[in-house]
């Protein structure tokens, strides 16, 4: 939902970043306002996932230029956990398995970290169980997964549902979903997309990172950005995604080649 008077939540200006000695992001510009759903598309290696990790604060990436304002404050100064507590959420492409750590306990500790930041009361074990059982319905997840270790032995679809469950509990202002659709069959995709749609509100924003149109069939973006060579090459409405689906990425490569010569 595009509203001209909505608050700006995230403002990325000329963002540049590298991993080890390799520059990946070469000047990304993107502004996200409350209520909006953005999709970033692009080939493998275009920098999409790097953008999501840099925003969340992954230590392997070094920001070499530009700025990111999150609700007016410098996001890049904050530790990953502070970003999360302030309402920035990253749904992982490959959620990490953590043997021996109970999913329920993990969800409780993280939920309370976010609640504390919002000035809300921490939830004890019992109150949290009530909350989590209610939120499980958003992703139609079996409560048995709460008793298991974080993501351990989960199928691809179960891991992604667990990500959306975390999103439902953490109530983020900006949710970045990195290829949440990858590895999902069509039923799981509907459930996950249904969860994302359910959680979208006029007060928050979603940044979807994806290869495929099929996710955008079930979550309608307000903006579609095409990324290539570490930059956003073109921005349009949802029809841009359809055009990509139709024409493939070759024209993007050509535009990029022209740009890099210039």
């Amino acid at each position: 939902m595009i509203r001209p008077d909505a608050d700006t939540l995230l403002e990325i200006v000329d963002l540049q970043a590298r991993v080890e000695d390799k520059p990946i992001l070469k000047g990304v510009n993107l502004t996200i306002k409350a209520g909006e759903i953005h999709a970033v598309m692009g080939r493998n290696g275009s920098g999409k996932s790097t953008l999501s990790k840099v925003l969340a604060g992954h230590p392997a990436y070094t920001v070499t230029g530009g700025s990111v304002l999150y609700r007016g404050a410098n996001l890049l100064d904050l530790e990953p956990e502070q970003r999360a507590r302030l309402g920035l959420f990253l749904g992982f492409q490959y959620p990490v398995e953590i043997p021996g750590v109970s999913n329920l306990e993990f969800l409780r500790v993280s939920t309370n970290a976010r609640r504390g930041e919002k000035g809300e009361e921490e939830l004890d074990t019992f109150a949290f169980e009530d909350l989590v059982r209610e939120r499980l319905q958003v992703v139609q997840m079996d409560p048995a997964f709460l008793e298991r270790s974080v993501n351990e032995g989960f199928s691809g679809g179960e891991k992604k549902r667990n990500e959306i469950l975390q999103m439902a509990l953490l109530d983020p202002l900006v949710a970045i979903l990195d290829e949440t659709d990858s590895g999902l069959d069509i039923d799981a995709l509907r459930i996950v997309a249904g969860g994302v749609n359910h959680l979208a509100s006029p007060d928050n924003a979603t940044l979807l990172i994806t290869h495929y149109q099929r996710l955008l069939d079930v979550i309608t973006p307000d903006y579609v950005h095409v990324m290539a060579g570490g930059r956003i090459l073109r921005t349009g409405g949802k029809e841009l995604a359809l055009e990509l689906e139709d024409r493939g990425y070759d024209w993007v490569d050509q535009e990029l080649a022209v740009l890099e010569v210039a």
Binding site: A56, A60, E81, P95
Partner: protein, 421 residues
């Protein structure tokens, strides 16, 4: 010149080692009681066998300095510490009680005490079968242990038997000796808790004979406070179709060395060994295990985990012997280690000796730091780096701790191991 110097250094070390043994023997009371003969033999052996040195392959990584810094004398009967109540369904025996540890206790149905003659016949049998009756830590125990808890298990025993012993105070030695004979189809679950503090030495020797189709679940929780030291030895003979599940966790000792030795006398048995050892500060935690298959179709599942932090050092040596008679053995051994500081050290070594040709023996070892991606995942959910690291360490420990007998929960092993209690 250099050779001469190192010679004289090792000579003086040898002198120090032999004088430690001499002093130790001098401080022992005269042999007496039910184990008098064993004590005589043990002392005789020790007087001829100085401390192990790092020139012996088995002790290469194990610096005994924390042990030789102690001047232990046999502890009198102990005083109970502020221990948790035994868990529901557990029967606790306090092994250091004045007089008879069984006084006022009735043993659970299916367990009976061995008579003196039976003890004399059975004691040391399994040690000999495991080829370790002359092993130094065993002789140390034999020289000093005033008594043995010797039990026959003749049925499926429902309650968990909890054996607690504590070495508290300076210059104290607490030798504990246990003998378990499990008859055919019998089953027993034991939790042994060994606590040590001050400049004390704990010496533990357990022998267990598992008859056909019997089951022994043995948990050992060895919780020390440096400079206390711990030397433990578990010798098990398994008859066919018996099951041994041994789980041990140790933390806090200046020096701990645990040596499980298992022999499957005719193969066809199942052995599961799980261990967790933590070494921080300047602690040394050492496990030397040996499993020997003397017949076909035996199974082994072994997981050894260690965390070394600060200047701590962890040693694991896991020997598995599969002679020609042990065809169709299926053994797996995994050593997983977390190295949390630049000055900590991990030595891990599988030692597989396989002669039989139709066997499956898998082994692996990993040494790593906490995984960046795991830490980042937790941090991206609002957990601070310290909390995330703590959670990952807990997760690493839990895999072993949850295999301990249920009665262990009362001792809050995770909190103790991670220094949260």
């Amino acid at each position: 010149m250099v050779a001469a110097m190192s010679n004289s250094a090792s000579n003086s070390a040898a002198v120090a080692a032999s004088s430690w043994v001499t002093t130790f023997l001098e401080r022992l009371p005269a042999p007496a009681g039910e184990l008098e003969a064993v004590q005589w033999r043990g002392r005789e052996a020790l007087s001829r066998q100085p401390l192990p040195t790092r020139r012996q392959e088995d002790w290469r990584f194990t610096d005994l300095a924390p042990l030789t810094a102690l001047t232990p004398a046999l502890a009198p009967a102990g005083e109970q510490g502020s221990w948790p109540e035994p868990a529901a369904g557990a029967v606790r025996l306090w092994l250091d009680a004045p007089g008879d540890p069984l006084a006022g206790q009735s043993l659970p149905a299916g367990i009976s005490l061995l008579g003196a003659d039976e003890v004399q016949q059975a004691l040391g049998h399994t040690l000999a079968a495991c080829n370790c009756e002359q092993h130094w830590p065993v002789e140390l125990n034999q020289a000093s242990a005033p008594r043995v808890l010797a039990l026959r298990v003749s049925a499926v025993v429902a309650p968990i038997l909890e054996l607690v012993s504590q070495a508290a105070g300076d210059g104290v030695m607490r030798p504990v000796r246990v003998l378990l004979l499990l008859e055919e189809k019998a089953s027993l679950e034991v939790l042994q808790v060994q606590l040590g503090s001050g400049s004390s030495l704990t010496s533990l020797v357990i022998e267990a004979h598992l008859g056909r189709e019997s089951t022994l679940r043995h948990g050992l929780l060895a919780l020390g406070e440096s400079p206390a030291c711990f030397l433990g030895h578990l010798a098990v003979e398994q008859e066919p179709r018996s099951l041994l599940e041994s789980v041990w966790a140790s933390h806090g000792w200046a020096l701990s060395r645990f040596e499980p030795r298992v022999v499957q006398v005719d193969g066809e048995a199942t052995t599961s060994l799980k261990a967790l050892q933590l070494a921080d500060g300047q602690q040394l935690a050492d496990t030397h295990s040996r499993v020997e298959f003397r017949g076909p179709e035996g199974q082994l599942d072994q997981l050894h985990k260690a965390i070394a932090d600060d200047r701590g050092r962890s040693v694991f040596n896991g020997a598995v012997k599969v002679p020609r008679a042990a065809q169709r053995t299926n053994a797996s051994q995994l050593s997983r280690n977390l190295l949390l500081s630049n000055q900590a050290r991990i030595d891990t070594k599988p030692e597989l000796e396989i002669v039989a040709d139709d066997v499956r023996c898998a082994h692996g070892a990993t040494v790593s730091r906490l995984q960046t991606d795991e830490l980042f995942y937790l941090q991206s959910r609002g957990l601070s780096a310290a909390v995330a690291a703590g959670l990952l360490k807990r997760g690493f420990c839990e895999e072993v701790l949850r295999a301990l007998p249920a009665a262990a929960a009362a001792w809050r092993p995770l909190q103790r191991l991670l220094g949260e209690a």
